[in-house]
Structures are given as C-alpha cells and as structure tokens.
C-alpha cells in the first residue's frame, strides 16, 4: 500500500467535517447523535491511521482505539435512552423545542 498518510488524514478530516455538519445543522436529535457517531469514527480512524503509519510495533494506539469504540458505544446507548426519555416529555425529538435549559 503506497497511499500517503496525507490522503488518509484528509479522509478522516472530511468525515469529521461531515459529522460535524450533521450534528450542528439537523433538527432531529437522533440525526445529531448519528453525526456524533460519525465524528467518533472519523477520530478513531485517524488514530489507527497514525498507528499504522508510525507506530505499528506498539499496540498502544490499538488499545486506545478499542477502548474508544467501547466508550462510544456506551455513550450512544445512553444518548438514545435520553432521547427516548425526552421524547416522552416533549412529545417530539426536535432539538429546537427542547428549551427547558433556558435562562
């Protein structure tokens, strides 16, 4: 594989940007979580890419990535549970309507 590092990095940057876009722009709370997932994955990909290109011998980054995935999964679970709970109260998943933190 003779793909330069920069290509991979640009890929992960691009994915990150897409995820961010979605998280910031969409009205639906679930889409926001989807966007966050995308960002997560982009970051972990970035990590692995660096591991692959520089630190192949040491598994530190590998471990890191494993844990990160675990955490991301836990986080998405809790987030979705929250969305469900919030849905019960507001009767919608529109982020614009969730203003009880106001003031």
């Amino acid at each position: 594989m003779n793909i330069p590092l920069s290509d991979y990095l640009m890929l992960s940057a691009f994915l990150f940007a897409i995820g961010l876009c979605g998280a910031l722009s969409r009205k639906n709370a679930i889409i926001v979580l989807i966007g966050i997932e995308i960002m997560f994955n982009a970051a972990i990909l970035n990590l692995i890419v660096f591991w692959h290109y520089k630190y192949f011998a040491v598994p530190t980054a590998y471990m890191f990535a494993i844990f990160a995935i675990a955490i991301a999964a836990a986080e998405s679970a809790v987030g979705l549970a929250l969305v469900i709970a919030v849905y019960r109260y507001y009767k919608s998943v529109d982020v614009d309507e969730m203003t009880s933190l106001k003031g």
Partner: protein, 168 residues
C-alpha cells in the same frame, strides 16, 4: 491497492453524507450502517483486523440497531416527519463551521511534510497479543471500561424506564 482505498473511501464518505442529509430517519441509519462498513473496511486495509471485526460487531450490530429502535420508539403519531423542515434554526452556523474546519485541515495537511510519509512494515499484532495486553498492561483501563459499561447500562435502563414506573 490504491483502488481499494478509493472505493472504500467513496463508500465511507457517501455513507456519512447520506447519513446526515437524508430525510427519512431509517434511511439515515441504513446509510450509517454503510458508513460503518466502510470504516471497517478501512480498518482491514490498515491491518487492524481485530478492530475491524469489533467495529462491525459493535457498531453495526449494536449501535445501529439501537438507533433503529430509538427511531421506532420516537416516531410521531401523526406520521413521517420527512415532510417537515429538516434543518434546525441557524443551521448555516454549523455548516459554516464545518466547512471552516474542513478547509483548515485540508490546507494544513496538504502543506505538512510529515503527511507524505509512507507506511512502514511490521509484524501484525495478533489477537492473542491483544488479549494478553488487555489483562497484563492494560488491565486497569480494561476494568474501568467494564465499570463504565455497567454504569451506562444501568443508566440507560433507568432513564428509559422511569416513565413506565410512573405510568403504573
């Protein structure tokens, strides 16, 4: 090999793109699954096999399914929300920020000398080695992770559960 990269990249990017832009939520999640697949593929390409497998298992197997469940549980009674407005208020802030970041990173990466490094060879890490590392060097994070997952589990159940108890 480059072709693989590019195909996988395309799949990934398209997946991500559709995941955030489609109207129908289910379609979004399906697109997300595609995205996860792409990422897994990348992991395989980067010779992080175990991670690729984990990715598929967890993300596609658990997270995406969970999202589907959540979508199903949070549907409006009145119908598909696809007809309504997709974007939130001041959406352009977000779009702008993302574009800025993308641009920045692109500009930097392009310039950076470090970025033109080619991959080095090496011994691939085996699953056995990972397992060993988990319980030897990385035992503390491993246990902590276990606690975290337990907490997340309980927490999620509690959050989602309360309503039912109250109803009764």
């Amino acid at each position: 090999m480059e072709a693989t990269f590019w195909i996988l990249s395309i799949i990934t990017v398209l997946g991500a793109l559709f995941a955030v832009t489609l109207r129908n939520l289910v379609h979004c999640v399906l697109s997300l699954i595609l995205f996860f697949l792409g990422i897994a593929g990348h992991y395989f390409l980067l010779r992080a096999d175990f991670l690729g497998a984990v990715q598929i298992l967890i993300y596609i197997g658990a997270v995406a399914v969970l999202m589907l469940f959540a979508i199903m549980l949070t549907r409006h009674v009145t119908g598909d929300e696809g007809a309504r407005e997709v974007l939130g208020g001041k959406w352009w802030t977000g779009m702008g920020t993302a574009i800025i970041i993308a641009g920045l990173l692109w500009a930097v990466i392009r310039k950076d000398q470090l970025a033109n490094v080619l991959p080095t060879g090496g011994v691939q890490t085996s699953v056995v080695a990972i397992g060993k590392a988990l319980v030897a060097d990385w035992v503390v994070p491993f246990e902590a992770m276990a606690v975290l997952l337990t907490a997340a589990l309980i927490g999620a159940v509690v959050i989602a559960l309360e309503e039912i108890i109250r109803r009764r």
